[in-house]
């Protein structure tokens, strides 16, 4: 009967192991390990009186769109506030670009004003896979958002231009832009003039006549919100909220990969050393603890993959420390077990009592760690948070692994009565222990 829990534990660990090695869900690596660029901006909200969160949100959206244009896999754009502990609260924008190492190119792309371009469409034909298909080429006209003096939001009225109540963006060009616009429309009556926003065509009206007067309307099937946002972006020139670069970092892919590899090898080697020590000193329980540690590592890595937690150098440090905690829990238990054995307890009972006696120390140790990591996660900087998250998670797993996995496995193996071989296997140290020295304690 006592084998059933042990077999179950091994089966479940097998499942975790399968999840860990399955390549479908690779561990998410932080910029310091995968390489990439991080930019921290301060958002100047001093001029915004109403709806600050709304303005910040539209800032994030605009930046996100530009970052997406940059063609980066899994970019991160998020708003942050500096903590109150460091004086005045600032609004910040954090941009993470994995794989990008050219800080300047990234800064340029993000700091750019929204691009509004007018392009002529020239229809033609192209041969694709042996079939003749119509194709379009866009011709630059030189007319861009730079020539827009201001933008206004209007709604189409029945009988007037556009569909009733359709939002329309009215652009007023500068003198230069107005002249250019008039010339383009005069030369290309009957053609389509595509309007591009941030590289995407948003509307392709047909030019009916030359348009003088320096204004143009854009009606691209906007929702009122989209139209309002476009008007705001164009009027603010750059962004709804001015931003200033206050911090940046870039890690080259080679350095990141080296750091990750070194961390991985170091963890593996460290683990082997610890297991070796445990087996030499604690013999059979040491071996069981080593197996429990392997399971512990599998479970923790599986959780990191599942949530997923982005792993950074500091996260690896937290992980290594949590392995230390897990080992310590086992050592506490084995020392207690040994004491019970030397006191003359029967083997199976000694295991049981050893666990029970070690529990309060393990509980208090682990709980202080959990509290500490919660605090660190709460007030820490991102690096400290990365440490605290993995460490806290590891400590919780360690608590479960020590009192559950090791216990179940040991109880399944250890017989009720220990013969000489079993006594040797359950003893500790490099030499053979003579009799029960501690039971006639001098204290």
């Amino acid at each position: 009967m006592r084998y059933i829990p042990a077999v179950l534990v091994l089966l479940i660990s097998g499942f975790f192991g399968w999840y860990v090695v399955s390549p479908d869900h690779p561990i998410k690596l932080g910029l310091d390990l995968a390489g990439g660029t991080e930019l921290i901006y301060r958002a100047d909200t001093s001029l915004i009186e109403v709806d600050k969160p709304g303005a910040l949100n539209s800032l994030r959206e605009v930046i996100e769109r530009r970052v997406n244009l940059f063609g980066v896999a899994e970019p991160l754009v998020q708003l942050e506030q500096s903590s109150a502990v460091a004086g005045a609260v600032e609004d910040r924008l954090l941009v993470e670009l994995p794989g990008v190492t050219d800080v300047q190119a990234a800064v340029d792309a993000i700091g750019a004003t929204p691009s509004l371009e007018f392009k002529l469409i020239s229809a033609g034909a192209a041969v694709v896979d042996g079939n003749i298909e119509p194709s379009f080429t866009y011709l630059d006209t030189g007319l861009t958002g730079r020539y827009v003096k201001k933008a206004d939001l209007q709604f189409g009225s029945a009988g007037g231009a556009g569909i009733a109540n359709e939002p329309i963006v009215l652009l007023t060009f500068t003198d230069e832009g107005g002249a250019l616009f008039e010339q383009i429309t005069r030369d290309n009556v009957g053609e389509s003039l595509a309007i591009f926003l941030d590289g995407e065509p948003i509307s392709t009206p047909v030019i009916r006549e030359a348009i003088a007067g320096g204004t143009a309307t854009v009606s691209g099937g906007f929702t009122p919100e989209e139209a309002r946002e476009l008007v705001r972006n164009l009027n603010f020139g750059a962004l709804p909220v001015p931003i200033e670069l206050i911090g940046s970092g870039a890690v080259g892919p080679t350095l990141g990969a080296e750091a990750f590899e070194a961390g991985l090898i170091a963890s593996g080697l460290g683990f082997l050393l610890v297991a070796l020590f445990m087996i030499i000193w604690y013999r059979l329980p040491g071996l069981v603890a080593s197996i429990a540690l392997v399971i512990y590592v599998l479970v923790t890595v599986a959780i990191i993959k599942f949530i997923p937690i982005t792993l950074t150098t500091s996260g690896i440090a937290g992980f290594i420390l949590s392995i230390g905690m897990a080992v310590d829990a086992n050592i506490l238990i084995f020392e207690r077990m040994k004491e019970e054995l030397r006191r003359g307890e029967r083997a199976h009972e000694a295991v049981r009592i050893g666990f029970a006696r070690a529990w309060t120390a393990i509980r208090d140790g682990h709980f202080t760690m959990i509290i500490s990591s919660v605090i660190l996660f709460w007030i820490g900087t991102p690096l400290v948070q990365g440490f605290a998250l993995v460490f806290g998670l590891g400590v919780i797993t360690s608590l479960i692994s020590a009192v559950f996995i090791t216990r179940v496995l040991l109880l399944a193996i250890v017989p009720h009565e220990a013969n000489r071989i079993w006594r040797f296997l359950l003893e500790t140290g490099l030499y053979r222990h003579k009799g029960s020295e501690l039971s006639t304690n001098k204290n």
């Binding site: 502990v85 509290i371 660190l376």
Partner: protein, 311 residues
């Protein structure tokens, strides 16, 4: 009982270690990295022969970026530290490092931190350490709430934090000396090492206190009169094997990181190893024995009070 009997010796040893560390920190204070002060750091790798540092320095000087330091790092790398650079200035710096295109450089990492951001990181790190210490006292005071004689539970919390102060000062003192010779700087990983040490050491202290708690409870249940220092001596002896073995395993795990890790993680591992060694030693020799003078002091006060009440 060895530790308890010789506690004066260990107290003095602690004092010497503490004073030495504080002197080291004050006389040769390790420099703060740009993460805390603001500034820029650029590390590049040269392909083929790395030019002389002096040559690089002269070339970079021409840009007029203010005061900067050029250091060799590793086999092929050069690290430049300066005031906070704008992205364009970084591009200029990179081209200056290639010595007008004659040397091939690869950018390994670039960090630029504005002064306000750096200041915030430093303050946050300090707050984190203090908040964690406070939480630890409170938790220990709560976990040991059943104990009142001869030392109330807050005494255990107080000593735990006193130990933590020592456990932070000694590795920092070591780091000051280490940094003096290697040019290492206090960075976020160093702060993380300290935080990890806090965790490790408090766990170490808790294990010993847990034993004392158990003995005190058992004595009370079995109505055994036992001198407090005997209980403490017994508790230390019984937990010593565990303390040493746990310390050893953590050092073993860190050893690998210290030997093969990158420069940053090597500093982390070294600080941790020194801290774990010092922490293990300190929790065995000092944490519990420190309870004795507190107990004696409280007993004296109690006796005095009782005498007063009789009069």
């Amino acid at each position: 009982m060895f530790v308890v009997r010789n506690r004066r010796f260990f107290f003095i040893l602690t004092g010497i270690l503490l004073v030495a560390s504080i002197v080291a920190i004050l006389v040769i204070p390790p420099r703060l990295s740009i993460e805390f002060t603001g500034g820029s750091l650029l590390e590049v790798s040269y392909e083929g022969d790395r030019p002389e540092v002096g040559l690089i320095h002269d070339e970079v000087e021409l840009l007029g970026l203010g005061e900067l330091s050029v250091r060799e790092s590793g086999e092929q790398n050069v690290t430049i530290r300066s005031r906070t650079l704008a992205p364009e200035e970084r591009t200029e710096l990179l081209s200056a490092l290639s010595l007008g295109g004659t040397a091939s450089v690869t950018e390994l990492r670039f960090n630029s931190i504005g002064p306000s951001l750096g200041n915030e990181l430093a303050i946050k790190a300090l707050y984190a350490i203090m908040a964690v210490s406070l939480a630890i006292v409170l938790y220990i005071a709560w976990a040991f709430r059943g104990l009142s004689r001869p030392v109330p539970s807050w005494g255990y919390g107080l000593i735990a934090v006193l130990m933590l102060a020592i456990d932070i000062i000694v590795p920092t003192g070591f780091f000051a000396v280490y940094a003096f010779f290697t040019g290492a700087q206090i960075d976020s990983l160093f702060v993380i090492a300290l935080l990890a040490l806090l965790g490790y050491c408090v766990n170490d202290v808790i294990v010993i206190f847990d034993r004392i708690r158990e003995h005190l409870k058992n004595n009370e249940r079995d109505e055994i009169e036992e001198a407090f220092d005997v209980t403490i001596g017994k508790s230390i002896d019984e937990t010593m094997g565990r303390s040493i073995n746990t310390g050893l395993t953590v050092v073993l795990a860190l050893l690998a990181l210290a030997v093969i890790g990158s420069e940053a993680t090597r500093n982390f591992a070294l600080v941790m190893m020194v801290g774990v060694a010092a922490g293990t030693f300190s929790s065995i020799t000092r944490s519990a024995p420190l309870l004795i003078p507190i107990a004696e002091h409280l007993e004296k006060k109690r006796a005095l009070k009782e005498a007063n009440e009789k009069e």
